[in-house]
Structures are given as C-alpha cells and as structure tokens.
C-alpha cells in the first residue's frame, strides 16, 4: 500500500520544509497562473529552480518520475493530440512549430505538477489544511473548517479506499473473475462490494470522530510568516516576472 502514497510528507529541514504553508500554496498558485504565459526563459528558469528544490528536499529524480509516471503518460497523450495533425488522406503529420507549442504546454503542466509534489513532500497535511482555512476564511458562504476537514479526510482515506479496491480485485481474481468476459458484469461485481465497504468505513469513521469529540471549533496548527517567506515570495515574484521575456 506504500506505493499508493509515496508522494506524501517527508520530514526534513530544507528551506521548503521551513516555509509557511501559505507561502508554498501562494507560490504554487502563482506558478499555475504565470505558466499560462511562460515562454522559454521562464520555463528554463523555473525548471532549474525546481530541480534545485527537488535536490534540496531529498527527493530522488528517479523516484519522482516513477511516482508521476501516469501523469507523464497523460502528457505524452496531450503532446500527441496537440502536435499531430491530419492532412488529407488520414496521414498524420508532425510540424516543428506545432510540436514546439505542444511541448511548451506539456512543460508548463509538468512544472505545476512537480511544484505540487514538492508542496506535498515538504508540508504536513495538517499545515496544508490550516493554510487552506486561512485562504478560504474571507470567502463568503464557504465553511472553511468543514472544507479543510474534508480535504484532510480525503488525503487520509484515499489510500485506504485504493487498498480496499485492490483487495476486492485480488479476491475476485482468486475466484476466476477473469473468465467473465462481460466488462459490465465485472465492473458491477467490483464496484458494489467496494462501495459497501467504503460506506461502512465512512460510517465507522464518523462514529470514531464523534467518540473523540469532533467539533468544528478545533485548535488549528500555528502558522508563522517569517523573513524566509518574504524572501521566497520576492524570489518567486522575480521568477514569475520573466513571463514577460521571450
């Protein structure tokens, strides 16, 4: 089950670990927006900074690639869809200018995902949740504490649900489900017990939370904005301003 959650918090003392989670979330949001217009200079600069951060946090590039492998397949698909055009006679053609543009789009998406991985690897989920509460607080009609609790529970229970799904799939394979050729029947046989288990787990979770006095008026982790955060924001703004360069 460890494989399902390898992109998770890794304790450490790197600069990213010591930044306020609000700063890291702001940088991620800034990168997401700036990368929409980012050209070669911006992308190269961001890639260099990102690789330095990956190295500083102790994440291994090989492991990182392994963890985001499905996303890389998706990027290949995006590249194919954007770069390959069909001229008359259903002949696929690859033009250098279109391929360059597709590559840029994929590069931007990859940077945002790596930044997201860095955020998750260097920030405890409780801190991400506390920062989310801080960001959502001024928004009217949004219960920020409820939203943050839901986020925390999703992070906690996604691996459990995936594990339960894998167990059900194994149990069904052990009883020859592969001999059933109808994919609809196989899907039904898989999803019904999975949903049943998920609902039972959710019910037990609710009871466990109640038993431990769950309420929305809870103590949240303390967040502190220091000079490091100011510096990181400043450097971030400088890097993001390179979107104006070619």
């Amino acid at each position: 089950m460890g494989e399902l959650t390898a992109i998770g918090f890794r304790p450490g003392q790197s600069l990213l670990h010591r930044l306020d989670p609000r700063t890291k979330q702001a940088l991620l949001m800034g990168l997401s927006v700036a990368s929409m217009w980012g050209k070669l200079t911006f992308l190269v600069l961001c890639t260099v900074v990102m690789m330095l951060c990956v190295n500083a946090t102790g994440l291994r590039i090989r492991r990182l690639i392994h963890e985001i492998r499905y996303f890389l397949f998706f990027l290949c698909f995006v590249f194919g869809v954007r770069a390959i055009t069909f001229t008359g006679g259903w002949m696929p053609t690859l033009r250098a200018d279109v391929a360059g543009e597709a590559l840029t789009v994929c590069w931007r998406l990859l940077l945002v995902v790596i930044m997201g991985v860095l955020l998750m690897a260097t920030t405890r989920t409780a801190d991400i949740r506390a920062a989310l509460v801080w960001y959502l607080k001024p928004i009217p009609l949004v219960d920020e504490k409820m939203a943050a609790t839901m986020l925390g529970l999703v992070v906690r229970f996604l691996p459990v649900i995936l594990f339960q799904g894998a167990e059900i799939a194994d149990a069904q394979r052990a009883r020859g489900i592969e001999r059933r050729k109808n994919p609809l029947i196989r899907l039904m046989r898989f999803t019904i017990p999975l949903f049943r288990r998920v609902f039972i787990s959710a019910d037990e979770l609710a009871a466990a939370m109640q038993a431990r006095c769950y309420s929305e008026q809870r103590t949240l982790p303390e967040l502190s904005f220091t000079w490091r955060d100011g510096l990181a924001i400043g450097v971030g703004v400088l890097i993001f301003s390179t979107v104006l360069l070619p």
């Binding site: 409780a126 906690r156 459990v160 787990s201 038993a211 103590t219």
Partner: protein
C-alpha cells in the same frame, strides 16, 4: 464510587433486532471489567451507548453523574473508546495528527496538545513515530496508536472493543501490558471480548451478555463456571480444572 450507571436500557435496531434488552449495570471507578458475549450479544451497542454514540430510546445512561443523552460531549471526554477496527478509528494523516485529533477537538492550547501527544505516544511506546503515516504501521502499532489517540484526551474510563482481535502473540502481550498499566494508574477499564483467555485473570468483574441481556455479573471466579453454554469459550486453564490463570507470565 460509581462512575457509570446504566438503568433499564433498551435498544432496537431499524431491522427490528433487539440489541439491548433491559440492561442495568453500574461500573465503579478504578474497576477492571470484562464484558463477554458471543457475536451479536450487544456488547458493542452497550459501549456505544456509554460513549454517547447511540442515545437511549428507553432507559438512562449516566457518566460521572451526568446524563449521556443530555450531554454526550461530556461523556465522551470522560470515557475514551477504542474501536475494534483500528483502521477506521485512525483519522490523522500522520501519527502525530491522529493523536492530536482529540485534544484539538477539545480546543486546547497547542503547547498542551503537544505535551499530551508526547505523553500518550510514550505511554504506548510510539515515541519517534510522530511523522509516520498510520497506514504504514503494523496491526499492533495501529492498535497502540488508537489507544494513544484516546489517552491523549485524558479520559477517566478506557473502553476497548475486542482489543486483541487480529493481533499476533507479541502484539497481544504488549497491548495487554499497556491495559494493565493503565489500570494500575487508576483508569477504569471496560473491555468487551468473546475470547476470555487473554484478559480474564486480570479482571475484577465479568459481565456475560446474551441476546442483549445481562445474564451473569460478578467476580470472574464465580461467573466462569459453565460459561460455554452462553457461547463463550472458557480459558484453557479452566477447562483443565486449574481455575483462572494468567495467559502470560
């Protein structure tokens, strides 16, 4: 001095099953009680009533003199409940987060929370596991984490639903040791089980439940004779005619 009082408690599930049928019990402070019964005898339902997770339709449950129905929050502070399935009880993304969950709900200061988390983790030998992810722990470690999560709320009563289920021999011994330590430290202990072997030698009281009713209640040595007729396996030492003996030395 009594800490929990249950009087003429009934509970019927939506499908018509009578889970509790006129249960009247009193638990004294510092007492170590084992509630035994076959599957479906109403043990877990009874614990959920004491913890305020289920509220009485008929009958009363009071904890420290306060009605659970009128103030379930107060009851949950006094009575910590460890669930049978540790996986569904653990709500934190890290060991620290999970143990801190209860004290955070009590709106304690961060310093006090950190102190309680450290004490609770030390009490179950999980110090140093703070940043680990709960689902990477072994079954025994998860059970200890679930206990730490409850201990951090500083309850007076510790209730455990089948605390030894799915544990191997070393993990069972460890959990048993912790339970005995908590009892020595003054906690009131209530354990439900269908397997008396491991714990009965240490209990001061044995309550037997059948189909939602309390059929026997007394000192283990007085109650244990003929217990198999209620669907409960007697300890090996009793079957061999040697009386109640500790499971481990």
């Amino acid at each position: 001095m009594s800490i929990i009082q249950i009087s003429h408690l009934y509970h019927r599930f939506a499908d018509g099953t009578q889970a509790l049928d006129d249960v009247t019990l009193t638990f004294n402070e510092g007492e170590f009680t084992v509630i035994a019964g076959a599957n479906g005898s109403g043990k877990t339902t009874l614990l959920r009533h004491i913890n305020g997770l289920l509220l009485s339709e008929s009958g009363t449950v009071t904890v420290c003199g306060k009605s659970v129905k009128s103030d379930p929050f107060a009851a949950r502070q006094q009575v910590g409940m460890v669930f049978q399935d540790a996986d569904s009880q653990i709500v934190g993304e890290t060991v620290y987060d999970d143990v801190a969950f209860g004290p955070e709900n009590l709106s304690l200061e961060r310093q006090e929370i950190n102190q309680r988390v450290n004490q609770a983790l030390a009490a179950v030998d999980l110090s140093g596991f703070e940043n680990k992810m709960p689902h990477h722990l072994s079954g025994g470690e998860k059970r200890r984490l679930a206990i730490a999560g409850v201990l951090a709320m500083a309850p007076r009563v510790l209730m455990m639903d089948e605390p030894f289920s799915n544990l191997d021999y070393p993990a069972t011994c460890r959990v048993l040791d912790y339970i005995l330590d908590f009892h020595k430290n003054g906690h009131t202990i209530i354990i439900t089980t269908h397997d008396l072997e491991k714990v009965i030698a240490h209990a001061q009281r044995l309550v037997v439940m059948v189909k939602g009713c309390v059929v026997k209640d007394g000192m283990p040595a007085d109650v244990i004779g003929g217990i198999e007729r209620y669907g409960i396996r007697p300890p090996c030492s009793v079957q061999l005619g040697q009386g109640i003996r500790p499971w481990v030395n």
